[in-house]
Symmetry: none
DNA sequence: TTTGGGATGTCTAATAGTTGTCTATTGTGT
DNA sequence: ACACAATAGACAACTATTAGACATCCCAAA
């Protein structure tokens, strides 16, 4: 029996995107989880239980009734949402590297079926989040690198981008119109033509409880702001990959700030985001270095919004 | 006895295209399905029952009386639907128009979930081929039209393109490497940035037995030819939508012919393909006016190839 | 042609189940 | 003292269930 990290309900709430209320109610009514208790009677959740709650949230958001699925085993829940989770860890490194190599090879050969197949296996091995972080995202870097160095033609880059989008599109969730969820606009700004980063952010965000409106590549500031206003979006995610020295983009970013409604959070990421640090700082954007970090920021933002909404009601 | 995902009546209604009322009535009056019940007495449908309901809906829409067919086995139901599918025609017009209107509205509102939902229903109603021809393809025209006229912003156009690609990506088949199938390269040539047409062709082709390598938008002739050579592709599908008067494109097309291996069929389609008729004629391209026509050409081409291969063996 | 009746989809009203949220109260930890 | 957590229960907003009424449509008998 090993000691494992145990988490407070607040912590679990933040990590799962469920309110503490709901977590307790699921326990009381359906025994969805049975956390240990501290001496004083407080709930202490294991990582396993956190994962279970996340899986349950995903399944309910996919339209399944909590009362029906709460008693299922992890495997059954995963099968409903069409995903599998891995026991991450040391071997994952090798496996993911091998898989990336296989994918790169498929790209080189322009083999769509092979690429999809490899990505699918990655999904099974690492789960949705894992495959994004350990396979698709580094692959995108690598393909971009090879393209710039001339090792890959534009055809390879296009091919990979399209295939990755198809694969990711399958992962994406279109939720029932649970209007409580905050809205995110994902796109790349004018002049930035590589859309895969923005798309990945969109998919990831949709998994942690955001409604995502994906607008594609090369949007002028006014249009982004228009979409934000129309959707009452809480945040805008911008992917900035290439080029890294476009003076117009700095202008665009400053404009964006002007057009956006007060209180809209701007999140920027991608290889070249750092190159526009000055402008990004000025507009109060958060710069994230990885998908994971981006998810954290989004989680925090959602919590914060929930708190504000509660305050507003008083 | 394995646990399987069970679905609420609402969910089933969405997936079958039948109203919840009708589903219940079919159960009450004809025992067409006998779903399990939850503790609270709610109906829980298995995937098998969902399929049965879909088959029953198709059969009734083909003119059969529910009272007669409700008791049949799955095999019997499918056999009667297989025969008389051709009657569909007339009523589909109104339904598809309504659906297109709904989709356009969702695009206007940038409502991803609504758009996906409508497209999904289109898939249920018209099948894979039908939804392409009667919904997605005309929608693409309409969205493009509105964009050019200024009624839609670039954001709307991007949004629709992305959403449609996600939807179509789900339809796409990635075959096992059954190498007997001929290979098609789908893309748009240099200067043509609207990729949806090429993507639709790719999806349609994958359904009629082609292996498809989708390369995205804006590929120079040399790269297209490279991809053809690498994949030993039998044909190249080019989508030409906008602009319709690019002199460079004519050059590109002539170049393409030079670079391509002998015997590679070029197929061109899209709103503005006619504008390049001269160049297309010179390179021996087939110009198609609709997805349907494109499929016919591809079918013919595949047959022809099969015949040639047989001859070569003798 | 008209009429009647069966088949079929739609609708309503009353009842009940489901689920997220909220409150009040008491307790815990720092 | 203060913020946070636990419990039980209340509640509102949905969603489903049942039985039955109703409007069409079609076919066949009068």
């Amino acid at each position: 029996m090993s000691e494992q990290p145990l988490h407070s309900i607040q912590n679990v709430s933040a990590r799962t995107g469920l309110s503490a209320h709901v977590i307790r109610v699921w326990e009381r009514r359906y025994a969805a989880v049975t956390p240990k208790r501290s001496d004083g009677g407080r709930r202490l959740y294991s990582d396993r239980e956190v994962e279970r709650l996340i899986a349950l949230r995903e399944a309910t958001q996919a339209g399944h009734s909590i009362g029906v699925i709460a008693g299922m085993t992890m495997k059954q829940i995963s099968s409903i949402t069409g995903k599998a989770r891995s026991e991450a860890g040391s071997r994952a490194m090798d496996a993911s590297a091998a898989l990336r190599a296989e994918c790169l090879d498929a790209v080189k050969q322009l083999e769509g079926a092979g690429l999809q197949d490899a990505l699918q296996r990655g999904l099974v091995m690492f789960g949705q989040r894992g495959v994004l972080q350990m396979v698709v995202s580094p692959l995108a870097e690598e393909v971009g690198e090879r393209w710039r160095s001339g090792a890959f033609a534009a055809a390879h880059e296009h091919f990979f981008t399209s295939a990755a989008k198809i694969f990711l599109g399958r992962l994406n969730k279109y939720f029932t119109p649970g209007s409580a969820m905050p809205n995110l606009i994902a796109c790349t700004p004018s002049g930035q033509l590589h859309e895969l980063g923005a798309f990945m952010v969109g998919v990831a965000a949709s998994h942690i409880g955001w409604r995502v409106t994906y607008l594609g590549a090369g949007l002028p500031a006014a249009e982004i702001a228009g979409a934000v206003a129309q959707n009452e979006a809480a945040a805008v995610a911008l992917s900035i990959v290439y080029p890294g020295d476009d003076p117009c983009l700095s202008e665009e970013l400053l404009d964006l700030k002007k057009f956006l409604p007060e209180g809209t959070q701007i999140i920027a990421g991608g290889r070249c985001a750092a190159g526009y640090r000055y402008a990004l700082d000025r507009i109060g954007a958060v710069v994230v270095g990885s998908l994971d970090e981006c998810c954290e920021v989004l989680d925090r933002l959602r919590m914060q919004r929930a708190v504000n909404r509660n305050r507003a009601r008083e």
